[in-house]
Amino acid sequence: MIMTEIAELKRIASQVRRDIIRMVHSCQSGHPGGSLGCADFMTALFFSELRHKPTAFSMEAKGEDVFLLSNGHISPVFYSVLARSGYFPVSELSTFRKMHSRLQGHPATLEGLPGVRMASGSLGQGLSAGCGIAEAKKLQHDQSLVFVLMGDGEQQEGQIWEAALYASGKKLDRLIGIVDWNGKQIDGPLEEVMPLGDLKAKYEAFGWKVIPFNGNSMEEVVDTLRAARAGAGKGMPQLLLMKTEMGMGVDFMMGTHKWHGVAPNDEQAAVALAQLQETLGDY
């Protein structure tokens, strides 16, 4: 990865963060904290690593990598990278969470939004769908990868561990799970609400290869995604344990769980946007 590409991804991520703030501010609802924290990862995935066809979306994704968002509440970052990479018009971001929009509060397929393959919002379900798509790709002799982004609080759902057991037991080695490890959930610090203990050791005990990395360093994100692709097809599913800062990029949204699911008011939005450079043009 040459430095100009890293610089370009950082420029895109800045615009993605602006989109997130403007979307949740406009409808006065939604989840900015986790969205901001995952902006670097989602930008690198959609603009650098993913082998996909944004302008020719197909539900079946034959010959394409698949991305599933399991923690559907961070829909603002998902919608921003989908629009910015060409799945649908950027102008549609203004309809987020409003009546008759394809951009539902949590991602859905019902309205036919290109780029969304599974509804998510009720937590814990994405990794199972990822297992199913990975099995399908095996049957189709398709060596593409399946990425599933999950929250750290979401790891408290039992279904995730059913899927984790299946993925290693059946050697789904083109399945890549990502856990957004920001340490915060709605009711407070994850360690107080329900500690996960040693999550790395837990996934390893379930038979996964675990790669910890800093999800707010574009260089590390890009390197980790490259490493994950190189590590695919070797008999084990991979889990990218992604340390992030909830609210990353907006100073007053960092270091607290308060902005998990709260929208900024006019004044706060103005302060936030002043910290985020407009690089690609606001929608």
């Binding site: 397929t109 009720s122 199913g132 099995e135 399908a136 299946y166």
Partner: protein, 318 residues
């Protein structure tokens, strides 16, 4: 329709044999099972098409999610486990990953109702039809015998969208002629009549056949219609029958709340009010026992249908 018992077979074997045929005719059909392959009669499919069979272990939530993923990629997944674990245990997975996501998943459920017998109420789900029919876009089918279950299994593979297919454990009379077409959403006339309409589904269809014969001997000309598809309901066939008979009995191995009777009563309240008597379980859990003992104990047997017909006739003529 000629009514004679061809043989006694379990409806789940109709599912298993239907799956084997689908395996041969439709390469996009795949099967998933949560550690109940033998009970679901999926062994033959597994042996013939091992690469298209996914053993998930005792992880029903993951099985439903995986089915949604396989459907996303273009396959037609059939999931198999007991009816309780197929519905109540995984309701939110079905709701979000299958129904709301509009996935072409076929949820196939054995051991439904009281007639699984000795395992008792933990396994005897009597709420599954209601749970499934409330989901937008979900098709709900409860076939009555081996032949109909096999035909239904094959038919649902060709229907786009989520389907719930409910069948059972015990050997029961197999009487629907094997060449009877299975049309999803179309009621099946078993015996025309003019005095009372009997709408029956699942294992209670044969009980209703017996009841209609007893009624004939008593001078009552009952009409018997098999409603194998509870959703979408064949409203026109029901209204046509009730326009003639003006009174109704429903029969099913399910709670009164949420079952076939509830769907028919709702239709008639809107379109054609008429006395309705329901042969169903009334807000109770089941218990251990032999299937026939349970049907007697919970009022789902042939004489119960006969008595319900007399009550309906009495209300019509009051």
């Amino acid at each position: 329709m000629e009514l004679k018992i061809i043989n006694h077979q379990d409806t789940r074997s109709g599912f298993g044999d239907g799956m084997l045929e689908l395996g041969r005719s439709m390469p996009e059909v795949v099967a998933l099972c949560a550690d109940l392959t033998g009970s679901l009669k999926l062994d033959a499919f597994q042996n013939a098409f091992p690469e298209r069979f996914f053993q998930t272990g005792i992880s029903e939530a993951n099985m439903i999610g995986m089915a949604a993923g396989l459907a996303t990629a273009g396959f037609i997944p059939f999931t198999g486990t007991f009816a309780n674990f197929s519905t109540g245990r995984v309701y939110d997975q079905i709701r979000q990953s299958v129904a709301y996501s509009m996935k072409n998943v076929k949820i196939c459920a054995s051991h439904a109702g009281l007639t699984l017998g000795e395992d008792g109420a933990t396994h005897q789900i009597l709420e599954d039809i209601g749970l499934m029919k409330m989901l937008p876009g979900m098709t709900v089918i409860n076939p009555c015998d081996y032949n109909q279950t096999k035909a239904a299994t094959i038919a649902i593979a060709k229907r786009q969208g989520p389907v719930y297919l409910r069948f059972g454990r015990p050997k029961v009379p197999n009487f629907i002629p094997a060449d009877t077409p299975f049309v999803i959403g179309k009621a099946l006339m078993i015996k025309p009549g003019k005095d009372v309409s009997v709408f029956a589904t699942g294992h209670l269809v044969w009980k209703a056949v017996e009841a209609v014969e007893i009624l004939r001997q008593q001078g009552v000309d009952a009409e018997l219609i098999n409603i194998h598809t509870i959703k979408p309901l064949d409203e026109e066939a029901i209204l046509e029958s009730v326009a003639k008979t003006r009174c109704v009995v429903t029969a099913e191995e399910h709670q009164m709340n949420g079952g076939l009777g509830d769907s028919i009563a709702q239709l008639l309240a809107r379109r054609m009010p008429a006395p309705v008597e329901m042969v169903a379980v009334n807000d109770q859990f089941g218990q251990s026992g032999k299937p026939e003992e349970l049907l007697v104990a919970y009022g789902l047997n042939t004489p119960d249908i006969v008595a319900a017909c007399h009550r309906a006739l009495g209300r019509k003529n009051a």
